[in-house]
Symmetry: C2
Subunit: 189 residues, 2 copies
């Protein structure tokens, strides 16, 4: 018998994305976002949801672009910090100790220290309620060579992404390999 | 120096959601979806992206509702199977060995065997490209009592969600506890 726990925003896993933007004066900003994910295969797109009150919201509206930077476990403290402070108050790139690299493809900065980043151009904006969703077309994905496997694919075990748990507002790491997708289910047929 | 790997649909972590719907004749269907996530806090909403060609797409258009069921590691084989076969061909609830429970809140079935489920009513539809996004307002979240902690909150370590890795099309489990959100970053200030 299932118990109702109310209309809460809880799914598992939930990501931790660090969103890179420029403000109106070209100052780079980085913000932690947990509401988002891939939303289309062709064109390749990712969606992120932001409150209008955030500094990044205005930045994205102005420049129609953002980068999506995947934090590794080792940057947990910095990633959490980027969700605690607003770019209105300070230069978060500096206080987090990060280097802003200007993307050559979109009008937004990415985080040099992170091993895996996406460069996105906003193609649609959808107001839902408190949050507005930005649909970003993925123009390119870039990764440090040391997180690529022999085939040149990103290796999740080297990237070590952070998993956010919205139920208890805690973070988790990546667990063990379970199996191959579109394969392990064939036994069920 | 970062290496370009092209405009690919890769972020970490990516979820595995099992979407429950009814077809036009009331036959329940379950489909595995990896493109989605929470997209608004108020009203509480989750977005999922589906190709028009899928059976579930027509079902959601018809009933304006779906359930989002979180598979545990122990249902990895079944979850993968639900992404391999179309509901056009068979009753996937039966072939996966699942029991369809009719939601009392929305016009969709949930999976009795899964410990954590969301009941969603579609409030917006956004065509992006190959995929169309459904914005589902979360009407309720239900969980088995044995996955709730002492405070009545869902315990991610008991739910044991599956993480999809779109880079190599593989699955991973949940890893170790890393820390408290909106707290660990205070040290960075």
């Amino acid at each position: 018998m299932k118990k109702s726990i109310g209309a809460k925003t809880i799914v598992f896993p939930t990501p931790v994305f660090i969103i890179g933007t420029y403000d109106i004066n070209g100052k780079p900003n980085a913000m932690a976002v947990a509401w988002g994910g891939i939303c289309c295969s062709e064109p390749p797109c990712v969606s992120i949801s932001l409150r209008e009150a955030t500094y990044s919201f205005g930045n994205i509206m102005e420049h129609k672009a953002f980068t999506l930077n995947i934090p590794s476990e080792k940057y947990l403290r910095e990633a959490d910090y980027l969700g605690l402070v607003s770019g209105k108050e300070e230069n978060k790139f500096i206080s987090a100790g990060f280097t802003a690299v200007k993307s050559e493809l979109v009008d937004a900065p990415y985080i040099k220290e992170f091993s895996f980043i996406l460069e996105c151009s906003v193609i649609q904006t959808l107001k839902i309620g408190l949050h507005t969703q930005f649909i970003g077309e993925i123009k390119d994905v870039k990764a440090d060579e040391n997180v690529l496997n022999k085939e040149g694919n990103p290796d999740i075990e080297k990237i070590m992404p952070i998993i956010f748990n919205p139920a208890t507002r805690t973070y988790y790491g990546l667990g063990r390999y379970l199996g191959e997708a579109f394969s392990i289910g064939k036994k069920q047929k």
